[in-house]
């Protein structure tokens, strides 16, 4: 478990270093994510078992509880309560409208473009596997 945690933190550190060195506008963890994915891909190609099981286990735990990790940042909304209250109507309208529109456009575009790719069964099956609306 410690090896896996070290691996994740090391990737984040490398991501931060790359960001600093190249003055990239992307956050360190996002760069680290792409670097780790590339490293894992190079390590095993498409073969099964390319990902060490210890790493997979820790990653699953972290991703499964990712919601918890957003709470401290989310509570920060109270610090902006003043501005949010002042112009609540345009803010609420744009938040809902823009998020719904971009969800629909991205989802529909992806749906239409991949419909013919023949791999949809994989996606469909895995969605059907979960009871609807559970998280």
């Amino acid at each position: 478990m410690l090896t896996a945690v070290l691996c994740l933190i090391a990737c984040q550190l490398i991501g931060e270093l790359v960001r600093e060195a190249f003055h990239l506008p992307i956050p360190g963890p996002v760069i680290g994510m792409f670097l780790l994915a590339a490293a894992l891909a190079l390590r095993g190609g498409r073969a099964d078992g390319a990902i060490p099981p210890f790493l997979e286990k820790v990653a699953e735990t972290l991703i499964g509880h990712m919601g918890l990790l957003f709470i401290p940042a989310g509570v920060g909304v109270i610090a902006e309560a003043g501005l949010l209250r002042q112009q609540w109507l345009p803010i609420v309208a744009a938040l809902l409208g823009s998020t719904f529109l971009s969800l629909a456009v991205t989802g529909l575009a992806m749906h239409w473009l991949t419909r013919s790719s023949g791999r949809q069964e994989r996606g469909d099956l895995s969605l059907a596997k979960h009871p609807r609306g559970r998280s």
Binding site: G28, G64, V77, G107, A109, R122
Partner: protein
């Protein structure tokens, strides 16, 4: 009595223990409420958790920086959790490779829609220019959204709040909405969540399906990049 509470409270409030416990208890309560509601996406554990913690912070008169200092450890784990999204991404690389073209087009249309509609709706409803500019990059992952907001003349702190609220909206409504369009493919669900609600919406998809997690991870990363490139360009056109 209140003297006694104060006596216990004051030293506690200074350690991370208290706010760590409050945050975790609030999240677990949120999960419990969601189970009670039959797993409804509307009973989002994150939203319930945020509301509960905010209520405790406000009720005890603690400031947000005090709370954040206490809950710093949980906040810190967001970095490693983002890195962890590399694992589903690497595992599903075959699907990503064979869908590169679709991902590119869906990403570009979704990203532009988010930026343009955000600004346009604020303007239509009579919001100020500052609000519109703070709204523009809100779909990107929070650190990128804040940096872009700063660059184009928005309020970074407001953008951070909008990014989180938008993420909650996408996490709550995303799945039901795409199912209403009869989209049942995890690739589309994942990418849409990552592009329109970044980490928060991705967390909702990622905890349920690995293929969805892979496409959500791509959505967050690529949309962050694209928002950083497009928003300054589009807002210059608006001038």
């Amino acid at each position: 009595m209140s003297k006694a509470i104060e006596h216990v409270w004051t030293p506690l409030a200074a350690t991370p223990l208290l706010w760590l416990a409050v945050t975790m208890a609030a999240y677990l309560t949120g999960r419990w409420v969601q189970r009670m509601c039959g797993g409804s996406a509307f009973a989002s554990p994150v939203l319930i958790g945020i509301v509960l913690v905010a209520a405790v912070v406000l009720a005890t008169g603690a400031s947000y920086p005090t709370y954040l200092a206490g809950a710093q450890f949980i906040n810190f784990l967001l970095g490693p959790a983002t890195i962890a999204l590399a694992i589903p991404l690497a595992k599903n690389l075959t699907y990503v490779r064979s869908n590169m073209h679709s991902i590119g087009v869906a990403l570009l249309t979704g990203s532009v829609t988010s930026i343009v509609s955000g600004v346009a709706i604020v303007w239509l409803f009579g919001g100020s220019r500052t609000i519109a500019l703070s709204m523009a990059p809100k779909a990107a992952t929070t650190p990128i959204a804040m940096a872009v907001s700063q660059e184009i003349g928005g309020v970074p702190a407001l953008t951070a709040a909008l990014a989180i609220l938008g993420g909650i909206v996408a996490a709550i409504a995303g799945q039901q909405m795409l199912l209403a369009f009869r989209i049942k493919d995890w690739r589309a669900h994942g990418l849409a969540a990552g592009v329109s609600g970044s980490g928060l919406a991705a967390a909702q998809v990622a905890s349920r399906d690995e293929l969805g997690a892979a496409f959500a991870a791509l959505g967050i990363g690529l949309n962050g990049f694209l928002t950083a490139l497009l928003t300054p360009l589009l807002t210059v056109l608006w001038n």
